[in-house]
Symmetry: C2
Subunit: 493 residues, 2 copies
């Protein structure tokens, strides 16, 4: 695979000096145009030529307007990064629409370094590659222009350059612990790198292997590569690549999952009282253990309007210390959130190890309200199922105890509750015309919920469909599910 990058490609000095000024003007003009474009640009710079990566990054910083460039160098994970799922630091660094960011020591590089260093075995490496592939697909399908450059140097050249660099200027060469690990295993590196490049090359996120023997050739190739891709995308006047057609099998209308929920389920008041106190006590103990053991918990509530989400959440929080949990109410995205992938804001709200986060509405908005009300395009909500599965996989993989609740009531019960709310002294419960109007879309929601559960309920992250016509029954069922999930997560550490 690397043969084509050992041909001795080079650019003559005179040629280089003649081409650079034009490239610089074009780059800066492209940056300027990009600012009003509706897609972000992510450029991965990596390779076996680690010193070359630093050099190219610096040259690009000199050629471009650094005010509109962000660069992130990811080394070993720091304390606060280790306390959250692995991809969080990349999500946090993602540029918004109209911005360009360079990633050095990105997800691919760190995976490779961990594998070469013996920290993860072949199976974990393969699993990691899957995550990389899906993460990149998520970005690209959302409109990110993702450019990946692998800088390659034949072994002899690499050794010579390292020695040269050491002699000339120690500051010019930044060798970190990742680099050292890669250099020490140079012979082992290439086969693994080939594997990685093959596995994570798709039409939309192709690796470009760049020969680094001649720095002039290397610099120009990367710069012109970026330039061509950004210009092409700007000219295309298309925010997102054409939607892939995803075949959705028809669901059997006779077996909707909501139809299977036993809405008659109920619990006598005395039972309720005793069980509630018992479960809250258990929960308190579990949360204290989770805090000590560093296990994070994510509880996610979806359900019909007036299904009792707030009341159920309160029965949980009453058992907790205010310093252990945070309730996250999900409303319409802000302008900043809107300029990122829709999952971005949820990643940022994840609890750190030992903490608990309760989401009142969630990332499922994409396949519920956004789908039914038409706020998301067809291809957007269709691919969200896979994106959500991947997101939740990563939570569970990190050790998070995850519960997903749908609180189910029937339309009559909802109407009764709306009417009761009109008499409450709480302003926040006041019912408006909108609430009644939303009831017209009941059937469309039923179909959406059905498909959602079918596509996103897995053994690792199962949905709990909670019969909530009897609020008390629902609260008990929820508390019990939370306790069980936390117990399981605690057993795994």
């Amino acid at each position: 695979m690397f043969e084509t990058a050992e041909l001795g490609n080079s650019v003559a000095k005179g040629d280089y000096d003649a081409r650079v000024p034009g490239v610089r003007v074009d780059l800066i003009n492209a940056q300027y145009d990009l600012r009003s474009a509706d897609f972000p640009v992510v450029v991965l710079l990596t390779g076996d030529d680690r010193a070359g990566v630093g050099e190219v990054l610096n040259v690009l910083h000199q050629w471009m307007d650094t005010r509109f460039v962000q660069s992130f160098a990811f080394g070993a994970r720091r304390e606060e990064e280790r306390e959250r799922p692995r991809f969080l630091r990349y999500w946090n660094a993602l540029p918004r629409k109209g911005q360009l960011a360079f990633f050095v020591g990105d997800w691919s590089t760190s995976l490779l370094a961990d594998h070469l260093g013996g920290e993860i075995d072949d199976a974990a490496f393969a699993c990691g590659l899957d995550h990389v592939e899906r993460f990149e697909r998520t970005l690209v399908e959302d409109g990110t222009l993702l450019l990946k450059f692998w800088l390659h140097l034949p072994k002899k050249k690499l050794k010579r350059r390292l020695e040269q660099a050491r002699k000339n200027d120690s500051a010019a060469l930044r060798i970190d612990s990742v680099d050292r690990r890669l250099y020490r295993n140079y012979d082992g590196l290439l086969p693994h790198a080939e594997h990685l490049i093959r596995k994570t090359s798709s039409a939309a996120a192709r690796w470009q292997i760049v020969e680094g023997t001649d720095p002039a050739y290397r610099n120009l190739t990367v710069a012109e590569g970026i330039l061509a891709a950004v210009k092409a995308r700007l000219d295309a006047h298309e925010s997102v690549p054409a939607a892939r057609t995803i075949a959705i099998p028809d669901l059997d209308p006779h077996t909707t999952v909501l139809g299977s929920v036993d809405l008659e389920a109920s619990i006598p008041y005395d039972d309720y009282k005793a069980t509630l106190l018992d479960l809250q006590g258990r929960l308190r103990e579990l949360v204290a253990r989770a805090r000590k053991k560093g296990v994070a918990t994510v509880l996610m509530f979806e359900g019909w309007d007036a299904a009792g989400k707030g009341g159920a959440i309160r029965r949980i929080t009453h058992a907790l210390d205010a310093r252990d949990y945070r309730t996250v109410a999900i409303a319409a995205p802000t302008e900043e959130e809107h300029a990122h992938h829709y999952l971005w804001r949820f990643w940022r709200q994840l609890p750190r190890d030992g903490q608990l986060a309760i989401f009142d509405r969630s990332w499922y908005g994409r396949v519920l309200v956004e789908r039914v009300e038409g706020f998301a395009r067809d291809d957007e909500w269709r691919r969200a199922f896979a994106e959500i599965n991947d997101f939740e996989d990563q939570l569970v993989l990190h050790g998070v105890a995850l519960c997903k609740f749908w609180l189910h009531i029937d339309a009559d019960e909802q109407l009764r509750r709306f009417q009761a709310r009109e008499k409450t002294p709480y302003k926040k419960y006041k019912i408006g015309e909108d609430d009644y109007r939303n009831r017209d879309k009941w059937d469309a929601y039923v179909a959406a919920i059905d498909e959602m559960v079918a596509r996103t309920s897995s053994e690792l992250a199962p949905w709990s469909l909670v019969p909530a016509n009897d609020k008390r029954f629902a609260r008990i069922a929820i508390l019990r599910t939370v306790c069980d999930a936390m117990k399981r997560a605690l057993k795994r550490v």
Copy 2:
């Protein structure tokens, strides 16, 4: 001072049960109204009754709608917090307009704990109290409703309650290292606490001392205190307390600081070339040392349009490794930034130790463009001088090397550069009618700059007024100033 909180205040059980439901409805309705208000609410909960603080926080979480409450418990500073100025973590946690946040283990508490633990001496404690006072004034003057509750328990009661809590339920009592330090020094605590309360009580940020002997009395007092303050503020229909009149002495028109800048200053080309390379080499070494020693650098550029900020910044960044610095271009604030104090977004952009941040325009926008164009009210830009001084004090105190540049050119030179720009191939330099129109306000800007320099140039954070009619002279002067400032900062560690 604490005598009034040892009177044995209490609320009878029947009375409590009768009053709580009303308080809860009122609290939730106030939260609901608050959401569309244009001020944030910050509630500090602290005191010698540390267990009581946790209990009150939990009770309030039960009574309020936790979806619209944020709670922050600050313990010992973590790795990433130690690498940035002390107040950054509080700035990061500040609620936006319309939100309410509880702060436990806030700036006052941690200062007190450090002093009692012997980590800081009397002088540092006094200096810390100054910072607390100014920080709180900054918040209040910007419109934050700041409520501070000190929960007090007579010594005997405290001991009894601690024992009770230990027996009943270990999970209910969260004693952290800060608590332990406070309890161990209980006798030493009260005099220091008195000092703190006296020093940091102002009309706008008054401490309320609450007797904790009877939990019912304590809970109701805090809840009703919050409720009354929020309601009063909502009813006032006024976003910000009346502007304090700040006497501004007239500046002597004959000695404007800009008039003292020698615009004839220039440097021959050969000198420039040699000196530039020499200074860039020195800078490269200094940055490498700063990275190793963990010294952060903040370079801030203000100046007339076309004064050459971009070119000067490029001469600095060309000497640097892209992984060591970040350029921050300051434009109009986003909606999120607008909903916070104007300094909030600059706090968030501060470099961590060992890193360098270059601000292209800065927090001085408040007293320049916002003042001249009328984007900030009179009282807002007037108090900004003190706020900025305090902000910069804290940077320097943390060990940051700080440089502040004003690039000065005359109006003729600006016109020449505008005309030259019209011919450049860089789109970003294209000149529009706005640019020419801004020139009409030259004199208003001169007055604003004059006052800015007079009020914010101090020995610790001096302004450098750079003659920039000769771009090369300006670049050399700037590089030299940066090198000197970094050298001084490195000497201090």
